[in-house]
Symmetry: none
Subunit: 195 residues, 4 copies
Amino acid sequence: MAAALELFVEKGFAGTRLEDVSARAGVSKGTLYLYFDSKEALFKAVIQEGIVPILEEGAGLVDSFQGCTADLLRTLIGEWWQRIGNTHLGGVPKLMISEAGNFPELATYYHDAVILRGRDLMRRTLQRGIASGEFRSVDVETAIDVIFAPVLMMVIWRYSLGACCGTAHDPGTYLQTHFDLIVSGLFAPERTRPA
Amino acid sequence: MAAALELFVEKGFAGTRLEDVSARAGVSKGTLYLYFDSKEALFKAVIQEGIVPILEEGAGLVDSFQGCTADLLRTLIGEWWQRIGNTHLGGVPKLMISEAGNFPELATYYHDAVILRGRDLMRRTLQRGIASGEFRSVDVETAIDVIFAPVLMMVIWRYSLGACCGTAHDPGTYLQTHFDLIVSGLFAPERTRPA
Amino acid sequence: MAAALELFVEKGFAGTRLEDVSARAGVSKGTLYLYFDSKEALFKAVIQEGIVPILEEGAGLVDSFQGCTADLLRTLIGEWWQRIGNTHLGGVPKLMISEAGNFPELATYYHDAVILRGRDLMRRTLQRGIASGEFRSVDVETAIDVIFAPVLMMVIWRYSLGACCGTAHDPGTYLQTHFDLIVSGLFAPERTRPA
Amino acid sequence: MAAALELFVEKGFAGTRLEDVSARAGVSKGTLYLYFDSKEALFKAVIQEGIVPILEEGAGLVDSFQGCTADLLRTLIGEWWQRIGNTHLGGVPKLMISEAGNFPELATYYHDAVILRGRDLMRRTLQRGIASGEFRSVDVETAIDVIFAPVLMMVIWRYSLGACCGTAHDPGTYLQTHFDLIVSGLFAPERTRPA
DNA sequence: CATGAATGAGTGTTCATTCAT
DNA sequence: AATGAATGAACACTCATTCAT
C-alpha cells in the first residue's frame, strides 16, 4: 500500500500501472490480487486505511487534551504535519481532488470520513477555546476554512506544480507563520492586544 | 477545444477519450488530428490558448485603469470570475494540479505563463495601492497568497469534491465576502479605521 | 464470423483466442471490437445469425412444398445437410452442448429459436404425411426424437471424437440409410409393403 | 476426484478452476498437486478411473449371465443407468464431446477404453441373442448405434441444454420406452408378432 | 477538408503451478 | 502430508493513432 500511495500520488490513478506498484512493493503483479480485488479496490484501501486511523487518534487527542487550547491547536497541526503532511499521505488531498470526478463514491466517502471528520476536530477545538474565553467569538465555520486552506494549498502545491517549478516556501516556517497569524486572530482581545 | 476543455476538466487527461472529445465537438475522431498532433498537443493547446490571452488583457487593464485601486482590485476579481472562474476555464487550476506530475514541461509553462503573470498582475495592483496611500504597506508576496488562495480553493473544490458532495457556498457571496475582508485589511488605517 | 465459427467449433468458447479469430479473418484484434462488443457477443452472433436464417427458409419450404411428403422429408434432410450439416455450422450442436452450462441465456435462446423451431418444422411435416395418409399415425413427438437423434449424433461425433478416432461412416450413406429406415417405418403398411 | 468430475461436467475443462475443485473437495489448492501432476492429469484420471472399472464389471456380467438375452439387455441398461447414467459420471459423454478436440490423446484413450469396450459389450449381447434365436439377424453394428444413440442423447441433453431449458422426459419412462421399442423390433417376428 | 475503419501496443485481470513452511 | 502465499504467462479489452477514400 505504501508503494501504491506513492505512485497514485505521483501519477494519478489512471497513470499508475499495477506492474509498477508491484515492482516497487517487491512482489509480483498477481500478488496484488491476493489482497485487493481490483485497482480500484487498492485505491480505496490506500485512501481509507491511510488517513482514517490517524483522524481517529486525533479525536482522542482533542477529547483528552490537558492544557490551553492554543497548545492543542499547535499540537493538532504539528501532528498532522508529522503523520500526514510530511509523509506520502500528504499527497492524498491532491489525489482526491484529481480523482473525485472518476470515483464519486469514494469522493463521498472521503468527504464524510475525512473532510467532515477533520472539520469536526477543528470545530471542537475552536469551540473549546471560545468556551474557555481563550479565543474570540469568531464565526467557527469560516475560521475552519481559514485555518485549513493555506495548509491544504501547501501540500497540494507540493505534490503538483511544486515538483516542477520549485521555489516552495520552507514548510516549517510557512506553517509556523500561519499558526501565529491564526492564533493572533483567534486570541481573545484582552490577551492578544494587551494595552 | 471547448469540448476538450470540458472533458479534461471533468475526467482528467488520462480519463478523457479522444472519441468523446470528437463526438462532443461534432466531428470525427480523425479530424482532431488535422489540428492537433497528439492528445498531448491538444491538452497543451487547451491550457495555453484558453487562459493566456485573458491574462494579457488583464495586463492592459492594470496599465490603463483610471480610478481608485480598490475598484481596480474589484474589477480584476470580477473579470476573472466572469471570464475564467465561472466558465469551464475555471477547471484549469484543478486540471493542472492533477496533471502537473505527468506533464512537467507543461507545468513549467503554466507556472511561468499563468501563475507568475497572474501574481505579477496582482503585485502591480497592490503596489499601485500602496504607492497611492490607499493601502497599508503590507508584505506584498504574502498578500498575493492570501488573496489568491481562497479564490483558487473555491474553483478547485467546485471541479472536484464539490461535484459529488455539494453544499458549496454561493460563489458570488463567497467572493464578495472575501473581497471585503481583503480590502478592509488592505486599506490604509486612517481610512479603514477612522477615529 | 466464419473464422470465429470454425474456432469455436474446434476449440470451444474458452479455448478460442480472439487473436486467432482475428488472424484467421485477416484483420487485427482491435477490429473485432468494432463489430462485436465482447467475445461473448461474438459467440452469440455466430450462433444466432448462422442458423436462424436457414431455419426460416425451411419454414417457407414446408409451407409451399408441392409433392409427396416423403420427398419433402428427403428435401428437408438434404437441405439441412447441404446448408448446415456439411458446413462449419454442423459444429454448432456440439458447441451448444459444450457451452450451454456457461451461457444459460444463450442456451435458452438456442432452445427456443433453433431446437423448438426445428422440431416444429418436422412436426408439421409428419402431420402433413399423416393427414394425407402417406404416413402411419405414429406418436409424433417420439418420431421427431427418432429422426433427429442419429442425425445429430453424426455431426456431434464428427466435431468431437470423430476428429481423432476417425472411422466415421460415410455421411451420405449414413443419412440415406437412416432416411430409408425412417420412411419405411413410417409409410402406411398397405403402401410400403405392398403384397 | 468426485469434486473434479462434478465441476468438469458442469463447466467444461477450461471453465473449471482448480481452486473450486480443491474447495469443493475440502483441501487446499496445493494438495491437488500431491496427487495429480497437472490439471490435465486430473482430467484424465477422472475419466479413466471413473468409467473403466464399471465397464470391466459389465464384461463379467455378460460372460456369466444366466437367463434370456432380453433380460441381459435390460440388466445392462439398468446397471448403466444406476452406476453411470444417474450419477455424475453421466456427464462424461458430454464432457468428452466437448473436450475431445483439446485432448486428442485422451479422446483416443476414451475411444479405445470406453467406447469400443462398450460397443463390444453390446455386440456380444446382441450376438448371444441372435445365436440363441431370440433376436432377428439384424446388422449388429447398426443396431448398436440405434440402441446407444437415444440413451446417449438423453444424458448429453441432461448435462447441457436440459439444465437451462428443462422439460426433460422422465428418464425412467424414457429408457423403458426405448428399451421396449428396441426389443420389440429385435425379437424374431414369430414371437413378437404372434398370429 | 473530413471521415471512420483499421490498427496494435499496452494494461488490468485470471489462474495453473510452485515451493517454503 | 498439507498448506496457501506467491508467481508470471496468457488473454480480453481499450484507445491513441493512422490512412485510404
